[in-house]
């Protein structure tokens, strides 16, 4: 049966090759077009989130100079900022964007298994984004409950946007989940069922592994968010009491009774923690390929890398309550969750080591993508290690709810995966457009973003250690333990943030400028082994592979194979004689 299916695909390119502009670029079922659509929307809304963060930084750095935003605005901005960055930018960009682009190309498929559903996925995602934006114009503005949306606060007066704002946010999230599910099912099924012949799972590039695992996590984690969103909507609109105990809101008795606020926190974090790995795992995968390609060396310990990804994926479902050590849940849970949380550091550590050992004894070309990849390793180590402070329950107690947490997750999520996003864009832009991005601009962009982002978030740890709480609109001087120097530090942080944000313009300019003026790249500018670089035409046409699907004969990392003529051997190059023995790798087919 399986062969029938694949054989079908061989003819497919002759079948529906769309003609009209609309069918080709707008209402398109081509995974490559959908990928670009996803990326474009995600990055545009990401820019909005960056702008919001700048408003926040202005307030925090110069509270009295510009009174641009009142407390409400501030809380609405951090909420939108956080939610957009985590879900509508990074999740959508890594899975909808890179997932769509890379999975079929790297697995040697003609497209996703269900292209029409894939297309719907994007349009539904767009709808979710529009509903989210509608919140900005809703009466009362968007919700200001923080991206964690903890009830009862998120649905009671006293929090900005407690009516329309939060309703639209929840509806938007629900829609997003529908969109993601349609996409995610496609990604997972494509990886499992539609690889070209010879592409065994253990030959797949790690990018695919990362995105695949993240999609699985998404399919299993988003349900928790979906359910809690429904229940909170009912609490808010219908007046049920799922999350609402008896409450006196601003002096008025309410009709709520008997609900459990902690239930929401458990549901949210059962989604929330896997979510952070949904953002991290694709980055892990992609960066592995960037490192291997630009170090001209096979990824070190491929098997371990795969198992580490899977281990992290599984473990991420049993650590959620490390966000709730001091939430009032039974403190005895602390022992269990602290242990599981720190265990996650082991597989992650393996990945970090293997990345570095991939560079070791390699032939390191410091191209722009490579710079970003190495920048990622550095910032991720930093951010990951601070995670161990927070995971270790006792150490978390003083740090929880302070800027230490903010610093942790920006370093590990706001900086490192974002660096990978950039590196990946510099790496695959040639395949998508047929032109290179400008290296000089790229390097400038890297240095400012990398150093700048580190300068923004490193000092925040120390504010946190001192006890400076997060989600504070301002720090009245009447707080004795916060010295005046903290205010100065905040100014420096804000300045650094402005600079880094400005540097993103270089990137955006580069992207548009190179569309016309970039140097033609040819099919395989990085001399990479993976299938997407072996397509008959660049950019690949609808159906990707022309007449014949590729046939894979080796794993994805045959760089500098002893005895090979070139310093890289494409996965689909025919097997050659005198293959050195070794498990799956080497030239053995």
């Amino acid at each position: 049966m399986s062969f029938i299916a694949i054989a079908d695909r061989d003819q497919e390119h002759v079948l529906h090759e769309p003609q009209s502009f609309i069918r080709k670029y707008v209402w398109s079922q081509d995974h490559k077009v959908i990928a670009i659509q996803y990326a474009a929307v995600a990055i545009s809304i990401g820019v909005l989130a960056v702008v919001m963060s700048m408003m926040m930084r202005l307030q925090l750095g110069f509270p009295d100079t510009f009174s641009l935003i009142e407390p409400e605005r501030y809380y609405q901005f951090i909420t939108m900022h956080g939610m957009i960055m985590v879900i509508y930018l990074l999740t959508a960009l890594f899975l909808g964007g890179f997932g769509n682009l890379l999975i079929p190309l790297m697995c040697g498929a003609r497209d996703m298994v269900f292209p029409y559903m894939n297309m719907l996925s994007f349009w539904v995602y767009l709808l979710a984004v529009l509903v989210l934006l509608a919140g900005l114009f809703a009466p009362g503005g968007p919700t200001g409950a923080g991206w964690t949306l903890y009830p009862p606060q998120s649905v009671l007066p006293g929090t900005p946007g407690a009516t329309w704002g939060v309703i639209l946010m929840l509806v938007s999230l629900a829609i997003f989940i529908v969109a993601f599910t349609m996409g995610g099912l496609n990604y997972v099924t494509t990886v499992l069922q539609a690889r070209c012949s010879g592409m065994t799972l253990m030959r797949m590039p790690l990018s695919v592994w990362g995105i695949f695992t993240a999609s699985v996590l998404g399919l299993l984690a988003f349900p928790a968010l979906f359910v809690s969103a429904i229940m909170m909507l009912l609490d808010n609109v219908v007046g049920t009491s799922f999350f609402m105990p008896a409450i006196v809101s601003l002096g008025e008795q309410t009709n709520y009774s008997g609900g459990s606020p902690l239930l929401f926190q458990h549901l949210f974090w059962f989604f929330g923690h896997p979510e952070v790995y949904i953002v991290a795992l694709p980055a892990f995968g992609v960066v592995s390929d960037l490192l291997s390609t630009h170090a001209r060396k096979n990824i070190f310990g491929y098997r371990m890398m795969v198992w580490a990804i899977l281990a992290i994926g599984c473990l991420s479902f049993v650590v959620w309550a490390h966000h709730m050590y001091i939430s009032g849940m039974n403190p005895y849970f602390g022992f269990f969750f602290a242990t599981t949380t720190l265990i996650i550091a082991v597989p992650t550590a393996i990945k970090v080591y293997n990345w570095i050992l991939t560079i070791w004894r390699g032939d390191v070309h410091l191209t722009t993508p490579m710079l970003f990849a190495i920048g990622f390793i550095f910032t991720f180590i930093n951010g990951g290690l601070t995670g161990l402070f927070l995971g270790n329950v006792t150490v978390d107690v003083p740090l929880s709810g302070t800027y230490f947490v903010v610093a942790h997750f920006h370093m590990v999520m706001g900086v490192s995966p974002v660096l990978v996003v950039f590196g990946a864009i510099y790496h695959w832009y040639p395949k998508v457009t047929g032109r290179m991005l400008n290296e000089t601009l790229g390097k400038a962009h890297f240095w400012i973003t990398f150093l700048g982002a580190y300068a923004i978030f490193l000092p925040m740890h120390y504010l946190g250690i001192m006890g400076v709480p997060r989600r504070y609109y301002a720090y009245p001087e009447s707080i004795d333990f916060i010295p005046a120097s903290a205010a100065e530090l905040n100014q420096w942080i804000s300045v650094a943030a402005m600079i880094v944000a400005a540097a993103q313009l270089l990137f955006l300019f580069n992207v548009f400028w190179s569309l016309r003026h970039g140097a033609p790249s040819g099919p395989n500018p990085w001399r990479a082994t993976t299938l997407e670089w072996q397509t008959p035409d660049t950019p690949p046409k609808h159906g990707n592979w022309g007449k014949q699907l590729p046939v894979v004969h080796r794993w994805a990392y045959d760089y500098n194979v002893p005895g090979a003529a070139e310093d890289f051997i494409p996965q689909n190059a025919p097997p050659m004689e005198d293959a050195p023995k070794g498990r799956d790798h080497g030239v053995k087919a």
Partner: protein, 453 residues
């Protein structure tokens, strides 16, 4: 090459920053120094990893940067090395986890001799309850909470009679005695956090959470809310005063018990009328206020607010700032009121006076004022500026706008609300500062005037 250098510099810079930065743990004031030790262990382990791993990374980049004829080594995997690193890491992890769990085990077991104090949170202030001599807290229920029963005490539980109710955000504790905090919230999640204590916990409506600690040094410590709880989250402040046992006892004795509070007879307007006589000179016979004499309208203002202000004047909490000229004028008159009974009478009398609408004297752009009022002020003062007891926010509608204008200025300039005991004033001044300028204030006041009728 440059990159490697940059990495090395970043590592060095990070380490230097770590040791030189003036921002570090606040001097500890509780028995939880073990938490600090665990943190230091973690710093050492992770620090070593951070430095060594990154320096190795930098070295690898330099050593194997692309040069003519350089060929990468072909080595798919190396089981020995990989497992070795895995085990080493696991050891490092265990070294951090073990002490952590040991300390946590002490956290979950509250010592028997720990005394009890209840922290009650609400948007956006704290109040506290001590068990009386019996050492037990009386029953309480959110459903019973009202302006006359802010703690939601259940009247028919004898145990509650001797409970000590502390309605101010200032909590006193004896030094060197273990205390178990029981945390209760009226409305949303909050978190009672004192950085110097290290230990902290969320307040969750519908349940009672707890933590324990032993204050180890006397002093005054800020209590912050570290769980986002709405617009004024950042202004939800309290203070913990750790003092010697006997000082603490005297303070505690000064606080009302639930029984006593209930025994208080309501204010008597008739008696209040006589005590109010001197006030009429400035505030007018009907307490309608007199701009010439800078005396605001009092009629129609909420009793709990008037009472609190009178007390603040008497205790030098209000009118303390040397620039608060008119505030100072009020102090002697407030001091004429002998005791709380007196105050209750006057307030009760004022409540009987007609609530005429004052004519407006401050003019701005009410439309703009509305936007500001509805985003910011209404959260505490209520949608129609009627005043909200639970946020301690007085009524603004139908009150003297010229007076409110001056108070706004005082709040912005820190002339009012800067006294350490004036917790709610401090809240107002941090909010007043969000007003761009005098014009914004005028706009708001003009809008507020339209709310009264």
């Amino acid at each position: 090459m440059v990159l490697a250098g940059a990495l090395v510099l970043l590592v060095i810079g990070t380490v230097l920053f770590h040791f030189l930065s003036p921002w570090w743990l606040t001097p500890i004031a509780s028995n939880w120094d073990t938490i600090d030790e665990t943190m230091h262990v973690t710093f050492w382990v992770t620090g070593v990893v951070f430095v060594s791993v990154n320096l190795f990374l930098a070295y690898a980049i330099v050593r194997y940067r692309h040069r003519k004829g350089l060929k990468a080594h072909y080595e798919p995997e190396n089981r020995k090395l990989e497992w070795g690193l895995t085990i080493a890491t696991s050891v490092g992890i265990a070294a951090m986890l073990a002490p952590g769990l040991a300390v946590w085990a002490r956290f979950v077991t509250v010592p028997e001799d720990a005394s009890l104090v209840e922290v009650l949170g609400q948007q956006w202030s704290w109040s506290y309850r001590f068990p009386g001599a019996d050492g037990r807290l009386g029953k309480s229920d959110t459903r019973l909470i009202s302006v006359d029963n802010p703690f939601g005490m259940s009247p028919d539980d004898p145990v509650g009679e001797d409970d000590v109710l502390v309605s101010s955000p200032e909590l006193h504790l004896p030094v060197g005695k273990p205390v178990k905090f029981e945390l209760r919230s009226k409305d949303v999640n909050h978190q009672f956090a004192v950085p110097q204590f290290r230990m902290k916990m969320d307040l969750v409506p519908g349940m009672v959470t707890y933590f324990w600690l032993t204050p180890t040094r006397t002093g005054e410590f800020d209590a912050l809310c570290e769980q986002l709880c709405g617009t004024a989250h950042f202004a939800m402040r309290g203070r913990v005063v750790v003092q010697e046992e006997d000082e603490f006892k005297t303070w505690l004795a000064g606080q009302p018990t639930y029984g006593a509070a209930r025994a208080e007879i309501a204010g008597d307007p008739a008696a209040g009328r006589t005590s109010f006589a001197p006030c009429t000179n400035c505030h007018g016979a009907q307490a309608e206020g007199d701009r010439e004499l800078n005396a605001p309208k009092l009629s129609g203002q909420a009793a709990w607010y008037l009472a609190r202000q009178l007390n603040d004047f008497r205790n030098g909490v209000r009118g303390a700032h040397q620039d608060d000229v008119y505030g100072k004028q009020m102090i002697p008159f407030a001091s004429m009121l002998a005791d709380q009974a007196n105050i209750r009478n006057v307030v009760a009398y004022i409540a009987t006076l007609p609530d005429e609408r004052p004519e407006s004297t401050v003019f701005g752009d009410p439309a703009r004022g509305r936007r500001i009022y509805e985003t910011t002020c209404s959260t505490c003062h209520g949608g129609s500026a009627q005043g909200v007891w639970s946020t301690h926010a007085p009524r603004l509608a139908n009150m003297s706008d010229w007076y409110m204008q001056r108070q706004l200025e005082n709040f912005r300039a820190g002339i009012r609300g800067s006294h350490r005991q004036d917790y709610y004033g401090a809240q107002m001044s941090s909010i007043a500062r969000t007003l761009a300028d005098e014009r914004a204030a005028a706009d708001v006041l003009d809008y507020i005037h339209t709310l009264g009728q």
